[in-house]
């Protein structure tokens, strides 16, 4: 039995390409090459009086090929055993993912009994190690801070955070589904989560921007709250903002005479969140004006969805999280059996018809 203070709690893992091999931190390897650098963010356990330090965590790194072997070798750099029960986040550099599949990288994490299903996974275009070296201004341990950012994805349509943790990613592997993972970037001591890394099965194919992610979330109904901005219909050049509170979204597959198409019926309820420009011209107490806004917001949401549809269907040619395939398989299993082997080629040609209704329920505290 090990006491709490005898354990090194790993809070975050970063996986990069091994650009440089430091002699001391690595080990002689009979098999494989020095392909990856794995960095662990470890919690500093200190008594109350000793907590004046800047950071609550420290980093240890190693290079090699097997992640498990690197982790075990890192015990040579630690006075206490490494404990993965409380790991919060795995950050992977896209340089690694351009060479190998995601499933290869995550195999150690999906196999080990210490790992949790709800570990967050992020992809970065920079160095993953820099992300876990980030010291949060709130003085939280870095791993906890990074993991908590994504908890806010329900209110932030720019982050694809729904079902992107380790447990769901393993499900996607098993279902041979495409995968979306949140993108995390760091610049000038700012860490930000936005957009999405897109995978065809487990192969990384690129990034979707925030606008495409927003469209996708509207399309699939994975947002809980959202902010939609339009140019004011009466005072062009000024913006009006709709705050979404509730929605009914139904993506349905249809098969007619062997032709497959999808409809997306969306009804959104919310408030006016912000109105710039002259409020006497934009009279929110005028029901007629509210109808005009509702139509304009509905058009904007439709445009966002069609943009996402274009990005995933035409540019990337990938069925995002295989949602369309899953819908067809669930609701039209016989058709799915006929088309499943050609789905990747068929998907970009399948039309999507979107219908959006917006209902403004409130105008806020003021006219």
């Amino acid at each position: 039995m090990r006491e709490l203070q005898d354990r090194n709690f790993v809070l975050a893992v970063a996986i990069d390409k091994a650009d440089e091999v430091k002699e001391v931190e690595t080990f002689f390897q009979p098999n494989g090459t020095k392909r990856y650098r794995v960095s662990l963010q470890i919690l500093k356990l200190a008594s109350g009086g000793e907590q004046k330090e800047e950071t609550k965590t420290f980093i240890k790194s190693n290079t090699g090929e097997s992640i498990f072997e690197m982790v075990r070798d890192m015990l040579g750099q630690n006075s206490k055993s490494l404990w993965f029960e409380h790991i919060q986040v795995i950050v992977i550099s896209d340089a690694v993912l351009k060479d190998v599949g995601l499933s290869e990288i995550l195999d150690f994490f999906k196999r080990d009994a210490e790992m949790r299903s709800r570990i967050k996974i992020y992809v970065t275009s920079g160095k993953a190690q820099s992300i876990i070296e980030f010291n949060p201004p709130s003085k939280e341990p870095g791993g906890v801070y990074l993991a908590n950012i994504i908890r806010l994805h329900l209110k932030n349509v720019h982050v694809a955070g729904s079902r992107t943790d380790l447990g769901y990613t393993i499900q996607y592997f098993d279902n041979k589904s495409n995968i979306l993972l949140p993108r995390i970037e760091m610049a000038d001591k700012v860490v930000k989560l936005s957009g999405s890394a897109v995978f065809k099965k487990d192969k990384f194919i690129g990034y979707a921007d925030e606008y495409a992610v927003a469209g996708l979330k509207f399309m699939l109904g994975t947002e809980k709250s959202a902010v939609v901005t339009i140019d004011s219909p009466k005072t062009p050049g000024y913006q009006v903002v709709f705050e979404l509170f509730r929605h009914d979204t139904k993506l349905t597959p249809h098969v007619e005479n062997g032709v497959i198409y999808y409809t997306d019926d969306i009804t959104m309820y919310g408030n006016i969140g912000e109105l710039q420009g002259d409020t006497s011209l934009n009279d929110t107490l005028d029901p007629e004006y509210l109808r005009i806004l509702e139509v304009a917001f509905a058009e904007e949401i439709k445009r966002t969805i069609y943009y996402a549809d274009k990005v995933f269907k035409k540019d990337m040619k990938v069925d995002p999280v295989s949602r369309f395939a899953t819908k067809l398989k669930s609701h039209e299993p016989n058709t799915w059996e006929q088309v499943k082997d050609q789905w990747d080629e068929l998907y970009p040609t399948i039309p999507l018809y979107v219908s959006v209704n917006v209902s403004i329920r409130n105008i806020g505290n003021h006219k």
Binding site: E85, A113, R116, S117, R118, G167, I170, Q171, D174, N175, K176, T326, K327, K329, S330, H331, P333, N334, E337
Partner: protein, 372 residues
């Protein structure tokens, strides 16, 4: 002084509880993967098919038992099948219990060492559980029945509450298509649910304890209720596993029922890693099933060898059970053992028991004619 624990009679409801508790044991953790791999989205139909099928088997056993009041199958089998045939049938029944017991011990040892004590050899876990179950099975039936009744209320309710937290991750769309594309797989899955329902054979040994005045209809009704309960519980388990994990994921996981719970996060609480809580509530469930089955095995030997006490037979069986459990040393052998157990159990229920019933009708008819 009279032994107050030596139970001489029980009600139909108590028999139903024993059937419920004996059916639901380790298999709620051990068998879902194989069933889901076979029947896919139609697994829920397989569970219902299994429930109906094995209830019919139990009903036939009740009919057979009612024909020989105050006797267990050990006493009347030689009269139906002849001396050697009777010994063969009794040995077959004991083999059904033995195979179930050793596969359960192996599976439990595997799960507990993987998720709770990863440095402990499974043999040690098996031994510890075997000692505990032996201690329970050494008692008289009154004590075992009381433990069954106690755990029926306590362990199962806690198990269900912990289990149902996984609804937080439930996705109804994962269950679709509800109607199976692979009908053959669903039917084969129905047969393979024997691994889940197995244990109902206990009625062949317990029926003489049920009050004589209890009619066959009443027995069928009470045991039917037990089967409805068991089927509902298995349905919940299978539906939740598929709803949370999807078919494809569940069939790649050795113990999907645990992974389902592992995915649960209770926001705002300090309670984490719910799979450990599930395991802790599951151990008593396994314990009472194993203890009952070991008791039944010892009872069969006791009656066969015409002993007055089941304890020497039980102590003789313990090393055999232990060796049998540790000899299953890899998943391939475990799978083969599971299949063997299933076919031995199915053949006993659907060949031996109906044959016994037909022969007993024929023999009684013949006696009637000869008298006339």
């Amino acid at each position: 002084m009279a032994n107050l624990e030596a139970k001489r009679s029980m009600s139909a409801f108590q028999l139903a509880i024993v059937v419920f508790v004996t059916c639901i044991g380790a298999q709620i953790m051990l068998t879902p993967r194989a069933l889901i791999a076979q029947a896919k989205n139609g697994s829920w139909i397989s569970v219902i098919i299994g429930g109906v099928l094995f209830y019919i088997a139990t009903y036939l056993m009740l009919r057979l038992g009612k024909k020989y009041p105050d006797e267990t199958i050990v006493e009347y089998a030689p009269r139906i099948f002849g001396r050697m045939g009777g010994i063969f049938v009794i040995a077959w029944l004991n083999l059904v219990f033995f195979l179930q017991v050793i596969t359960i011990f192996y599976g439990v040892g595997k799960i507990i060492t993987f998720y709770m004590f990863d440095r402990t050899p499974p043999e040690v876990v098996i031994l510890a559980l075997l000692v505990l179950c032996t201690y329970c099975a050494l008692q008289d039936w009154g004590t075992i029945l009381r433990i069954h009744q106690f755990l029926f209320v306590i362990a199962y309710s806690i198990l269900l509450i912990v289990w149902l937290t996984s609804i937080l991750n439930f996705q109804p769309e994962n269950l679709l298509p509800l109607w199976p594309v692979d009908v053959k797989g669903v039917i084969a899955g129905g047969l393979s649910t024997w691994g889940m329902y197995g244990g109902y054979e206990s009625v062949l040994l317990l029926l003489p304890l049920v009050y004589r005045k209890v009619s066959l209809n009443k027995l069928a009704k009470e045991v039917g209720l037990a089967f409805i309960g068991v089927t509902l519980l298995f349905l919940i388990i299978i539906i939740v596993i598929i709803g949370v994990l999807t078919v494809e994921d569940a069939k790649n996981l050795p113990f999907p029922a645990l992974i389902v719970i592992r995915s649960v996060e209770l926001p705002g609480t300090f309670i984490e890693r719910l799979e450990n809580y599930l395991l802790v509530t599951w151990i008593p469930v396994v314990f009472d099933t194993l203890a009952a089955m070991m008791f039944f095995m010892a009872q069969i030997c006791m009656r066969q060898w015409r002993h007055a006490d089941h304890r020497p037979a039980l102590l003789l069986l313990v090393p055999i059970i232990y060796v049998g459990s540790v000899l299953i040393d890899n998943p391939q052998i475990y799978d083969q053992m599971g299949k063997l157990t299933m076919w031995v159990g199915l053949a006993f229920s659907f060949v031996v028991v109906p044959m016994a019933l037909l022969l007993s009708w024929w023999q009684k008819g013949k006696v009637g004619k000869d008298c006339g």
